[in-house]
């Protein structure tokens, strides 16, 4: 169930970016990051930057995803119950 939710949310993020539904995409990214961590969003950001040709000048999304990963990694244990994180319930 957890994996299915992760796949669905991940797909929804990609689709939201492609459909230019940025507010919805942002919301999905936030939920996904809190629930499953932001590390898997980094390859996605690199792929999207590559798809839209952003590596020809400056890959903003990839850089932002790295910063976002650091931020979420720092924030998650503080927001969520630290015991659950330790027990691996909220782990990636």
């Amino acid at each position: 169930m957890k994996i299915l939710t992760a796949i669905l949310l991940y797909s929804a993020i990609i689709l939201a970016v492609f459909q230019n539904w940025l507010w919805l995409g942002g919301l999905f990214v936030f939920i996904f990051s809190l629930r499953f961590g932001a590390v898997t969003l980094i390859p996605l950001a690199i792929l999207i930057d590559g798809y839209f040709g952003n590596f020809h000048h400056w890959p903003y999304l990839s850089i932002f995803s790295i910063i976002w990963y650091i931020f979420i990694d720092y924030l998650r244990p503080k927001i969520l119950n630290p015991n659950l994180v330790k027990n691996g319930v909220w782990q990636n």
């Binding site: 690199i46 930057d49 590559g50 040709g53 590596f55 890959p59 995803s65 790295i66 990963y69």
Partner: protein
């Protein structure tokens, strides 16, 4: 001790992930074409789904598209409603201002007589109305008949003590001088019958649908809007057709003015036309920067003086 080592390993893992990600980004910057090709291949299913959502006529995508377009339409209509509300307020303010200015100039509002329509083109010949006010009520032959505040409908052609007949401006062979706002031309207007009048305008005059048509010889004399333009390049003139905005069958009451509301001399007609053109240049709610405009004006005046 254990907690410390777990914390350290987590930190180490974070550094590793960031390092690998930065490495990929730098690689991408050096090899943008390769990463673009890889991304295109991997994201092809997403691209296909996105294209399907945007272009397919299937139920789900069309539902999503229609919903979005309807939401946008609602937003646009709300904006237009706000704009229209503002325009209404502006119009109301201008009307009040006009009444005040007219009273300052000593121009009293013309007396009007309200009259109900008792017979219309079903029972009478077309373009003729019978109203329930006659000479006993002060109705004069030739007096203009209005709908609302300023739309001229026709002229009184016959009065009896208790009723009168009104001939509409659209009656065949009714001729009047009209002024078309927009191209700002004075033209001849003729009734065609059947509730339609037309103006004859020379070729090249940019007349278009929606232009207001005034009858300058009647005060205040809006007749209607151009509702259709017939323009054949081979003809020396173009025709603008005018139909009343309110259908004759929908009329219940009209206002009958006084004979003095019809101007007789050509000079007065010209004066009204000039006034209409002048009013057209007035833009409400615009404040002009006094410094720049006055300095420009001074400069212009100095230039004229030097010449």
């Amino acid at each position: 001790m254990k907690v410390q080592s777990r914390h350290n390993s987590s930190k180490k893992r974070r550094y590793q992930i960031v390092l690998i990600a930065v490495l990929f980004v730098v690689m991408g910057l050096f090899l943008p074409k390769i990463i673009s090709s890889v991304a295109s291949v991997l994201l092809y299913p997403v691209h296909s789904t996105s294209a399907w959502l945007n272009e397919s006529s299937s139920l789900v995508p069309s539902f999503v598209r229609e919903r979005i377009s309807l939401a946008n339409q609602i937003k646009d209509l709300e904006n237009e409603l706000v704009k229209a509300g503002r325009i209404d307020v502006t119009q109301e303010r201008l009307v009040e201002e006009n009444i005040q200015l007219r009273s300052l100039l000593g121009i009293n509002t013309e007396e009007r007589t309200a009259a109900a329509i008792i017979a219309r083109p079903d029972e009478l010949p077309y373009d003729l109305l019978q109203i329930d006010r006659g000479s006993n009520h002060g109705i004069e032959v030739g007096a203009p008949v209005f709908i609302g505040r300023d739309i001229v409908l026709g002229l009184v052609v016959h009065t009896a003590p208790n009723y009168s007949f009104v001939e509409l401006i659209t009656t065949p062979e009714f001729r009047a001088t009209a002024f078309i706002s927009g191209p700002d031309v004075v033209v001849n207007m003729e009734g065609l019958g059947g509730g339609v009048a037309r103006v004859l305008v020379p070729q090249g005059v940019p007349m278009s649908v929606g232009n207001l048509v005034y009858l300058p010889s009647v005060e205040p004399g809006v007749f209607g809007r151009i509702s259709y333009v017939e323009n054949r390049p081979t003809q020396p003139q173009q025709y603008g057709y005018i139909t009343p905005e309110i259908p004759i069958s929908g009329l219940h009451r009209v206002a009958v003015g006084k004979l003095s509301q019809i101007s007789q001399s050509a000079e007065i007609i010209d004066e009204r036309i000039i006034e209409l053109i002048r009013n057209k240049l007035q833009v409400p709610d615009v404040s002009v920067g006094t410094t720049s405009s006055s300095s420009r004006l001074d400069g212009a005046q100095a230039g004229v003086a030097e010449e």
